[in-house]
Symmetry: C2
Subunit: 268 residues, 2 copies
């Protein structure tokens, strides 16, 4: 069994029904996605407030700390306790976080609006990332994965307004998380990968969201060599994919896709 | 003429072409949206780094400071100078910003990941927002607006991966901004409204993005009573719309829409 911190199990109902009126004047009960503030405290120190669907709050908190590189190893975390009454998650570490003031200072000045939160140091380390080059994804497996993903997308189908992320091994979906923020979904995947001791180096990451700089960086940091998105990409996402050599497929809908970078891992 | 700070005019090319391979193995030149870091300095103090398309950087910087309530009035701003060589915008104020340390401290702990940046105080003031109740939008005007918006959406059509926002008077679009972050687009609209001395109290705000808490708060803060989105909404977006009495229309596509709140301003 991999090491696990003590965890609460505080996932909450992802949708909520309100009444709307449509263009015919008819009252339509409409599912909308939950959105709750969740403030992360590490050893009683307030770190950040995330707006989340609340489907995987413990994994989200762990993955946030992982992806922001505030915690280097799951074993540093002793407990993760979510309390929705106060909208807080208390993370207890074994030995405290080293140089938290310095890292928080860095964050203050480099927060990316609408792009989630980026620490300045995150970009500096792209040069040091080396992804596995012997991993392959065949087109047939890719199409099977897209078909498998389509069936998982349940909150989106019911309520819209969420993004989904999946971690897959070939076409097999190992985990699937949806959230109101696309960065929360990728962070929750990162958290679950640590909790389940899953190595990213031979996996495929799928997201419904756009491939912006931070999304590509986070996948590369998790050592995942293949990244697939239903949406488009930005120039910085493309530049970082080129630098890291990640295999990036965009506009993945039905039978269509565009292969942008890292073509050596994709087998037609 | 309304007061204007000294402004650079540093908008940059919004798209960039790369070559991708499609499912037929054919090389497809593909437009992708630009994404650049832009660090805002106020009186030489670093405030935040935004990842932006760069279509309206001066308005974005001003609108960011407005929507985060770091600046109360356009006349406090003397100059806004963008320099893409260093990815920075220098904002010079007349008298400095009052209590910047206190406000920055607040921001550090309440940054909403994937939701842009929220200051803690922003939510506290919802109770004090009163939107005009005598503004009306007829269904015919609404449909005309949707048709007008459709024709503006050019970067999205070319490259995807961007969100668009429009400020309209009835069906007439007064301004339209696209950006890689939906919060950047709304902030740039806020900046242009200040620059052009446009009052929001009888206007309609349109966004392609989802109606999350922060999006609704920003519109309400700008005194805009009617909010229309192509996308869905979240529970907190709905709750804030209910509290402020804003007229909120979601899933606005073609002939379909859902009217969620503030029905008194919408005339069928």
């Amino acid at each position: 069994m991999p090491y696990r911190p003590r965890l609460s199990n505080a996932q909450c109902a992802p949708t909520f029904t309100v009444e709307a009126r449509d263009e015919h004047g008819v009252a339509v009960p409409t599912s909308i996605a939950t959105e709750r503030p969740l403030t992360i405290y590490v050893d009683k120190r307030e770190i950040v407030t995330l707006m989340t669907l609340g489907a995987a709050p413990e994994a989200l908190a762990i993955g946030y700390l992982r992806n922001q590189r505030l915690v280097d190893n799951i074993e540093e975390i002793v407990a993760v306790q979510v309390d929705w009454e106060v909208g807080a998650v208390a993370v207890t570490t074994r030995n405290g976080l080293a140089d938290l003031d310095g890292r928080m200072q860095k964050r203050t000045v480099t927060t990316g609006c609408g792009q989630g939160t980026v620490f300045g140091a995150l970009m500096d380390d792209i040069e040091n990332i080396h992804l596995r080059d012997d991993v392959r994804l065949s087109e047939a497996t890719y199409y099977q994965l897209i078909d498998n993903v389509r069936r998982y997308d349940t909150i989106y189908k019911a309520a819209g307004a969420v993004h989904g992320c999946a971690l897959a091994h070939g076409s097999e979906i190992l985990m699937f998380v949806e959230d109101v923020g696309r960065h929360n979904a990728v962070d929750a995947i990162a958290g679950r990968m640590w909790l389940d001791a899953i190595d990213g180096s031979d996996k495929v990451f799928y997201t419904t969201g756009r491939l912006t700089s931070e999304m590509v960086i986070k996948c590369a940091q998790m050592q995942i060599p293949i990244l697939v998105s239903r949406s488009g990409l930005t120039q910085m996402g493309y530049d970082i994919a080129t630098k890291t050599g990640i295999t990036m497929i965009g506009r993945a809908t039905g039978k269509h896709y565009l292969l942008f970078t890292g073509a050596h891992r994709f087998v037609k």
